[in-house]
Amino acid sequence: MPTFSTDAVAKSRRFDYWREVVSSNLISVTIDRDTCGTFFGSLLSCEIGSNRLLHVRSTSQCVTRTGPRVSQDRKNLYLLNYLAVGRGCTSQHGNFHDLAPGDFFIHDSSSTGTLQMVGDFEMLTLTLSRSLVDRYFARAQYQCSAPLSVEGSAAGRVAADMLQSLARNCLQMPGESFETVVESLVGIVGMAYGLQDSPCRGASTPHSALLMRIRNYILAHLGDEDLSPGRIAAEHRISGRYLSKLFESERTTVSKWIWTQRLDASGRALLLPEFAESRVNEVAYACGFNDMSHFSFSFRKRFGCTPRQYRGRALPARNPPRVAPGF
């Protein structure tokens, strides 16, 4: 079990060391820092079977998974994070959220995202395969970066206790038991997320419930090239103006959101075995793009390489996933 700590490193070199540790040993991310106080960081990584559990203690920093980074290691995983101590904010798939102690949040490593931590923090990160998440989360893609607070959810509190218990016990645990515990945990967290989102619970406002329905509609129809704001508005019996307003509250526009989702979907599809035989333009069409040059250009901009290069970099099979705090 690798453990890294900046304790033994000279203060002036600590941040560089931390960057080095995280970037070279774990998932590919960019780490920045805007304050100049003393830096510290410790990281405990527990690797069991195809899973990995990280326990991180550190201080203010900004962790970014940029397009080029995504294309560099092309990890296709979800990361379940639990912020035990500290505050910050996170964004992914166009969602911005504040994080408070006791929040669970999910990140999708196949997509870009940011995690900004302010002050000292302690966090647990667990890697999850896509198929596992799909079994228990109805819409993980939508739930990325959206926090689940254990404050308001007793089930969430039990899940947090369980994750912490898993972190304490993971070292001596046989691989199959670890996977079983992880699966039970995902079932519980997925359920707690579902209850939080569920329109039946009355927990969410009509506004966010509608926005959620619209996003799900968009995600389900990404492949239709005639998916337009007009059609979406008509389908949900609202005006185009109201639709723009809904997305304004999320600091994006409808078309921009669709465009990003299509790009991310094409990135994921390029890595899927189902599309291994398909040509790049077929994948792009399947994701709703109709202009190839426009697609290549924006793909390059988002992922830092061409779709062909993105697909070409083969991944070593069945290596335990490498992850960084939050990603």
Binding site: E176, T180, S184, I188
Partner: protein, 318 residues
């Protein structure tokens, strides 16, 4: 929530009161008081849907559950006990085991059981429906009364920490919240049984442990359509013949069991409001079914209505 305590009762009436309360409110049991000094007892019971969670603090006593005095309606349950503090003995199905603090054990409520505790003790008890336990723990009756230690890190410790977390949070849990938590707990408990080192002298227990591990493997891989007896056998280092033989003594064959668990998994997703955006086809494929017409037909046979109707009925009240 129900709470009882002997605090307000006079010392010489305490034990009688304790026996009365438990036999009256919970299960009819035979008590013998072994307390040397003063007797005391307190009990808090939280109903969680079909389950109930009991926290008991008391002192030396011997509790025997005899079959003929059993209260109606409890036969479909197991109970999971976690001895937080104290020590003593458990007995069921002819197995007598010493038990000490930090260990958990199950009792099967269909057969007589005995719990003999010496000195002050604290125990957490959760009742679990037979169908839920049987899904994850194979031949659970062979594992009854056997204490599982949580002294070393592992799934057993996660299970007991989860149970304690459940006890702390149970007041705020609704029935709907509790169901997946308890299911998760049973899975982790099954993993703890699966990770146990079987004693070579007891064949029934050893088989039960192996089968529990195999079930866990199957449940984790239900969604993969290439989950075959051959692959399962290889993953557990047994021959296919041996695997089939192990399942032979169960009520169904291996492939039938896989099939029924896939149906159960699809039922779970179809009755969950969060999955309304998924088509029935996506759900069926996600559960490892390949042939839609075959799936619909089997679903109807098992649950009485076809998947679409079933989903409609389940999600209607929303």
């Amino acid at each position: 929530m129900q709470e009882f305590s002997t605090n307000t009762v006079r010392q010489r009436l305490r034990f009688e009161y304790w026996c009365e309360v438990i036999s009256d409110q919970f299960v009819d049991l035979d008590f013998t008081c072994n307390a040397q000094g003063q007797f005391y007892g307190s009990l808090a019971a939280h109903p969680l849907g079909v389950h109930s969670l009991l926290l008991v603090k008391s002192t030396s006593q011997r509790v025997i559950r005899t079959l003929d005095r059993k209260a109606g309606g409890t036969e479909d349950f197991y109970v999971l006990n976690y001895l937080v503090e104290g020590q003593g003995h458990t007995a069921q199905n002819g197995n007598l085991h010493p038990v000490s603090a930090g260990e958990f054990f199950m009792f099967d409520l269909t057969s007589p059981a005995e719990l003999d505790l010496v000195g002050d003790f604290t125990i957490l008890t959760l009742s679990l429906p037979r169908t839920l336990v049987d899904r994850h723990v194979a031949r659970a009756q062979c594992l009854c009364a056997i204490p599982v230690s949580t002294a070393r890190p592992g799934p057993g410790r996660v299970a007991t920490e989860m149970l304690q977390s459940l006890a702390r949070n149970c007041r705020q849990l609704t029935e709907g919240d509790a169901q997946p938590l308890i299911e998760g707990l049973v899975r982790v408990t099954a993993a703890a049984y699966g990770a146990m080192a079987p004693s070579p002298s007891n064949l029934a227990t050893a088989q039960s442990i192996l089968l529990t591990r195999i079930r866990d493997y199957i449940l984790s891989h239900l969604g993969e359509e290439d989950l075959s007896p051959c692959r399962i056998a290889a993953a557990h280092g047994v021959s296919e013949r041996c695997l089939n033989k192990l399942f032979e003594s169960e009520e169904s064959t291996l492939s039938r069991w896989i099939w029924s668990q896939r149906l159960e998994e699809s039922r779970r997703m179809l009755s969950n409001v969060n999955f309304v955006d998924r088509t029935i086809k996506e759900i069926a494929y996600g559960c490892g079914f390949k042939d839609m017409s075959h799936f619909s037909c089997a679903f109807k046979t098992q649950f009485g209505s076809n998947p679409r109707q079933y989903r409609g009925k389940q999600l209607l009240p929303c």
